[in-house]
C-alpha cells in the first residue's frame, strides 16, 4: 500500500514535468486517496491499529444517582 502511495507520487512528479497537467493532478489525487485509506487502515486495524488507552471513552462505573427514588 505504501509502495502504491509512493509510486503514484513519483508518477505525479514525472507527469508534472513531462506529461499533461491533468494527469499529474489525477495521479496526485490518487496518491492522496491511497494515503487517506492507509491512514484509516492504520487507525482502525485491530492488528496494526494504534490504540490510545489514556483517552477514556467509557465510564468505569455507571453512577446510580436516581436509585433511591429521585428527589424529594
Amino acid at each position: 500500500m505504501m509502495l502504491a502511495v509512493f509510486a503514484t507520487m513519483s508518477l505525479a512528479l514525472l507527469a508534472g514535468y513531462y506529461g499533461p497537467r491533468w494527469f499529474a493532478v489525477l495521479s496526485m489525487l490518487v496518491c492522496l486517496a491511497l494515503s487517506i485509506g492507509l491512514f484509516l487502515f492504520e487507525i482502525y486495524s485491530p492488528e496494526y491499529g494504534f490504540g490510545m488507552p489514556w483517552l477514556q471513552v467509557q465510564l468505569d462505573v455507571v453512577p446510580h444517582v436516581w436509585s433511591r427514588g429521585g428527589h424529594s
Binding site: 507520487m9 499529474a24 491512514f39 487507525i43
Partner: protein, 160 residues
C-alpha cells in the same frame, strides 16, 4: 513607482513567497532523509505519510511554477497541509503518553520530536497560505500576465 512596476510587484512577491516555501519544505524533507540514511532512524508508516503530505504541498507549488498561477494550486497545497496536520496530530497524540512499545520515533530537534515538528510545520503552511491570500489576493495572475488582458480586448471592443 510606475504602473507596470506596481502591477508586477504582487506577482513577484507571490513567486518569491512560494519559492521560499518550496525551499523550506525541500530542506525539511532532505533533513528527514539524512536522519534516515545517515542517522539510522527508520521512519514509521505515519512518518512516511507525513512525508507524502509535505511533498503534496510542494507539488501544488511546483504546478504554479510549471503551469502558471492558479488558485487551484494553492487549494491543492492546502489540502495536503490539512492532511499533514491530521496525521501529525494523530501521531503526536499517539505517543504523548509514554508506555512500553510506544515512544516518539527518532531524536529531538531543538527539543521537539519530528511528529510535533510536523504539527508546527502544518500550521505554519496553512498560516502562510492564509496570509498570502489575505495580503496578495487570489487574482495576481491577471496582473502578472499581460496577454490575459490582451485576450480580453476583442470582447471589450465588441461592446463599444
Amino acid at each position: 513607482m510606475n504602473t507596470m512596476t506596481g502591477a508586477r510587484l504582487p506577482a513577484t512577491l507571490n513567486d518569491l513567497f512560494l519559492f521560499a516555501m518550496m525551499l523550506t519544505m525541500a530542506a525539511i524533507l532532505t533533513t528527514a532523509m539524512i536522519l534516515q540514511f545517515y542517522g539510522g532512524e527508520i521512519p514509521c508508516p505515519l512518518c512516511l505519510l507525513q512525508r507524502v503530505a509535505m511533498f503534496g504541498v510542494c507539488f501544488g507549488i511546483i504546478l504554479h511554477f510549471r503551469h502558471g498561477y492558479s488558485a487551484r494550486n494553492a487549494g491543492f497545497s492546502m489540502l495536503f497541509a490539512l492532511f499533514l496536520l491530521i496525521v501529525s496530530v494523530r501521531q503526536t497524540l499517539l505517543d504523548i503518553y509514554p508506555r512500553p512499545g510506544h515512544s516518539y520515533i527518532g531524536s529531538t530537534v531543538l527539543g521537539l520530536h519530528m511528529p510535533v515538528w510536523s504539527v508546527v510545520i502544518a500550521v505554519a503552511i496553512l498560516l502562510a497560505f492564509a496570509i498570502k491570500l489575505a495580503v496578495l489576493g487570489g487574482d495576481v495572475c491577471a496582473i502578472h500576465n499581460p496577454f490575459r488582458r490582451l485576450a480580453a480586448l476583442p470582447g471589450c471592443l465588441a461592446f463599444t
